[in-house]
Amino acid sequence: VAESRKLAPASYVAELADETAPLSVDVTPLAGSRFKIKVEERPIEIEAEQVGPHTFSVRLGDRVVELDTTWSEGNLVVGTAGKELAFRLIDRRRYRAGGDAATGIGQREVKAVMPGKVVAVLVNVGDEVEKGQSLLVLEAMKMENEVRSPGSGVVQEIRVSPGQAVETGELMLLLE
């Protein structure tokens, strides 16, 4: 997987579920599976190998830990034996001060970001929806994922129905 891959540096804002102040997170890919990461002003260098669908074996210096990454209610949950840390990780370009994750381009189109099956449509045409409100439930990789609204608006058109299979990039819903 890793042979000719070139990752671009990325910057995020981490909002911890336990409500401490947001943290800045900068990722600089190095050679192989190594990364330089700055959490606030604290730099660390890690080697992260994916060893399972949700699992990374992470080396920090000579120390190695196994971390599991899952999603729960819109949060990213990183866990190890007997404990978990839940937070949101937002692309800094889409993050505005005040903790509001701004909407990106194409906010009016809700597209499938992975192949899957529509399990439920939670809104109707004409409904006023808020940013973050659940619009659809999409089953993919054996997991049910809620597809949330990218912004507030009115549902203009629904192009899918429960039971329907969708491909990556397929337009599912239009917002006005």
Binding site: P53, T55, T69, T70, L76, A81, L85
Partner: protein, 502 residues
Amino acid sequence: LFRRVLIANRGEIAVRVIRACRDLGIETVAVYSEADRTALHVRLADHAVPIGPPPALESYLVKEKIIEAAKRTGAEAVHPGYGFLAENTDFSAMLADAGIAFIGPPAAAIAAMGDKVAARQAMERAKVPCVPGTFDTLADDAEVERAAREVGYPIMLKASAGGGGKGMRFVHRPEELHAALRGVRSEAKSSFGDDRLYIERFIESPRHVEVQVMADQHGHVVHCFERECTLQRRHQKVVEESPSPVLREDVRLKMGEIAVRAAQAVGYVGAGTIEFLVDPKQNFYFLEMNTRIQVEHPITEEVTGTDLVRAQIEVAAGLPLPWEQAQIRQRGHAIECRVYAEDPFNNFLPSPGRIQVLRTPSGPGIRDDSGVYEGAVVSRFYDPMISKLVAWGPDRKTAIERMRRALAEYRVHGLATNLAFHHWVLDHPKFLAGDFDTGFIDREWKPEAQRAPFEGEERDLAIAAAAVALTEGAARAAAPAAPSGSAQHGWIATARREATRG
């Protein structure tokens, strides 16, 4: 032996029975509710029959549906597991009418032990020491009042049809009696349809020790020694061990003999458990008998080298017990932790949902009796047990060390578990010293003080790992040639969604 056995249960115990049947070359029939089509017990069975909607009252507890399933599949015997219909005399009578064997005790023995007042009478006749108290049903409130005074406060007020921690109240002073009386009566009436009561003297700082017995149809009864089940939360056992870390050898032997006598007194056949209360001076008193296989049976199996579920099936088929009393010895030490989908930091609230990550421990001395798999759903309709983790070692210290290692290897994510709670118990100085009573957990567990969050460098590391995962996921999502579906890991697929949504 039987050719085909139906298992009238679900979860880990159904899986345990299927495994015993397979060892014996017996075909298995699972039954399942609409919530359980993809449950592990259905996946492992040879045959499977749907028996109705998710609520147990409409499926696993409907005797007619289970008997119909047994007839339809030609099952010659039914194993009830624990809970559900395991101690239901109507069910065993209906099976008998249908010519199907019940893998459990005779209906008369279940009935004799199910009625706690009748059981106390039978035990007293058999010279089994009972908790001091009343031995007859108390007719009215006046009689309860008088009896409570005679027994002496504080007392336990209990429903005759109760058991397993249900239908009982602690009454400290006479002023509290009337409220407790109303509570127990209404609870007993609604739960058991029977509001008869009895009184036991309250035993101070009690330990809860039980003895495993096993009997065949030819009059042989043996015991497989004791299990220490003192660590309870609201009368529900959470950590058990065998042998008891404190019982004196003479008490242990006497308790075994008396347990055998108790089983003989009711004509017992199959696996059963005699529960005793033990006071600080190691006087012990009969509490109740559970006329079924117990949740915590694996620790006895590990220490005595027996297979209790297999023996249950054999004696139900009329075979003699596979062991003599003299052959049964305690070797080493075993501990069980009940791993539940519940949140110890939020009042042990059940946490049903999909198990997104599951990695179970293994290695020397470790046994994991599980009813789930990665991707399985812990249903809100049933007991949220994930598995019973058992550690065996040549001595208690080694068993504890192995259990700690296993708990550290055990990974469950996607829902809350009580793994952190078990870590706490296994590290507690009083647990290590064997110095605890039934009130230990309620007294000592302080969730806020015991929460171990990610801190400092560890927290940065967790955030860093997530950031890497997200960066990689986004890169793959952007790659035009990325194959859809098959080669994509679940996490990456979700990361793509997160990275690309607004």
